[in-house]
Symmetry: C2
Subunit: 317 residues, 2 copies
């Protein structure tokens, strides 16, 4: 039996990964600071614990005694996460979590990395060839975590993979993030402000990101794997598509926000490991995913429900 | 006033660094799991705390409110330290220590790294040009710690340096280490077993290592700095010198121990940053240092005192 301990289970990716894990036959034990969300699948066992709290974390690892660890939890406050000192706390908690899991006999660890581990400025970022030269505290901390957990797993004879997440979007995303902020403004009939948007990014729908993580966990693929579409899309194309689908092209204000200095022209992942070794393909075309996101905002704003799916106090990606 | 918080103060390097720190005008606050050693200088303020215990560590950082942090503590059990899971605990404790120190307003951090962070197999290991490709869990964990602490210090506007320790020896070293084990055997009149000893290593006397760390802390030199002599010495030359000084050349058994597989032919540091930017020179020639070490073993074995200076339960380098 494959039993997975999932951290960040209430987060943007985490809550989408439950179903694909169940479909792959995992017994799923989800950890979060809050309890289970209302619509949670009965087959998921929820454990209330704060991964940053040593005693709580050690206890849940011991209790669950999982064969697999899918570690998605991290500090994810939009904007702030790039340089917040919480990143350092997550390094400490993550390496100790891995240590405890391995010591309890765990066999496979998959963690969530980031495209920000790479040296930016190259047209395509590839796992084996692009240098790791993170420019932010967030990127440094993710990279260092990967180095330690990989070596600890190797030492313990366990297997390890690291999914480097690129850009993502989808229903329930925090409204401060790019696609959500535009979708929200368009649905509210407000000006949708963006940069000129000539920078190219690699976007995946959050459900595709989640299914890629589930597939990676269920494989024996080792080392870093880009969780990426492999396709470069200009940010302004995404903005224009959203505005067109929303039927409000006149609300789109490209150039209303200044393009940040040092903004890389391109952040696009080489997806050949993901597609080749995992035989995985994204299932949600960009246009369809953006439609869904707009529909979610229509529903949410009409109903007056919470504007994203993060639970109160939850800090997971 | 420069006030330094020193971890690993009861360790092999730590107890030697107290005097040079005092001589440089630092107010020295020493942290260890045990209390002050009997012969401790009155000017040193001792704090009893376990750096691995979150609450104890956070409290001592808060209490001392230091401007400088010299972090030498790590798991150092001879042999075991290369692959022990304690390395991972020390990553967690070290990055949290740095975080807490920086948050309390600390201005400069110097940490103890290792030549094992480098890719071995090159004739000389240099900070700016030799790739970091540690082959052991110990090396990975030291390297990862350096990456996180450097980025956290930079984010906080503090300065940071990282002294990469090569090989060291001296009075009080653990008897399982190379020079100590040979000196102890020679003084006891037992066969002094070594490998063929054709491998070249970079050795410094522990007092020189300590004075280099004190000088580094007192400078504004940033980033990694090899704590190395820059000179390649064959292990068998050290063994022969010891046997000659001891007057027992017949006890030396070169080749009695197998040379480990994958033993690098050379581990020698480029010392030009240390010598050039810090204007630091080693003060103890190898022959003199080996003499002292033998004299220490004579005295210690005659008096029946403890065979090394590590305090009971102390885990610092």
């Amino acid at each position: 039996l494959n039993r997975v301990l999932l951290t960040g289970a209430s987060g943007f990716i985490g809550r989408r990964v439950l179903r694909p894990l169940l479909e792959l036959g995992f017994e799923v034990h989800a950890v979060g600071r809050a309890g289970p969300p209302p619509e949670s699948d009965d087959r998921v066992v929820w454990h209330r614990a704060d991964i940053l709290a040593d005693a709580q974390r050690a206890a849940v690892v011991q209790d669950v005694n999982a064969s697999h660890l899918l570690h998605l939890a991290w500090y994810a406050e939009p904007g702030a996460f790039w340089s917040a000192r919480e990143n350092v706390l997550w390094v400490a908690a993550s390496v100790r979590l891995a240590n405890e899991f391995l010591h309890a006999g765990g066999r496979r660890i998959v963690g969530a990395g980031t495209c920000a581990e790479y040296e930016w400025g190259r047209p395509v970022l590839a796992e084996p060839s692009t240098p790791l030269r993170p420019a932010t505290l967030y990127g440094v901390c993710k990279d260092a975590t990967q180095r330690v957990v990989r070596a600890a797993a190797e030492q313990a004879g366990a297997s390890f993979a690291w999914g480097r997440v690129f850009f993502l979007y989808g229903p329930g995303e925090h409204p401060a993030r790019l696609v959500s902020s535009l979708a929200r403004a368009l649905v509210r009939g407000e000006e949708a402000q963006a940069t000129e948007g000539t920078q190219q990014r690699d976007f995946l729908h959050v459900d595709d990101v989640a299914s890629a993580f589930a597939a990676l966990l269920n494989s024996s693929v080792a080392g870093p794997v880009n969780i990426a579409s492999g396709e470069a899309v200009e940010v302004r194309e995404i903005a224009k598509t959203l505005a067109r689908i929303a039927g409000r092209p006149e609300l789109l204000a490209l150039g209303a926000r200044p393009t940040p200095e040092n903004e890389p022209a391109s952040i696009v992942g080489d997806a050949s490991r993901l597609r080749g070794e995992l035989d995985w393909e994204p299932s949600i075309p960009l246009q369809q995913g953006l439609s869904e996101t707009l529909a979610w905002w229509h529903e949410r704003l009409a109903s007056g429900g919470p504007e994203h799916e993060r639970l109160p106090g939850e800090r997971s990606s």
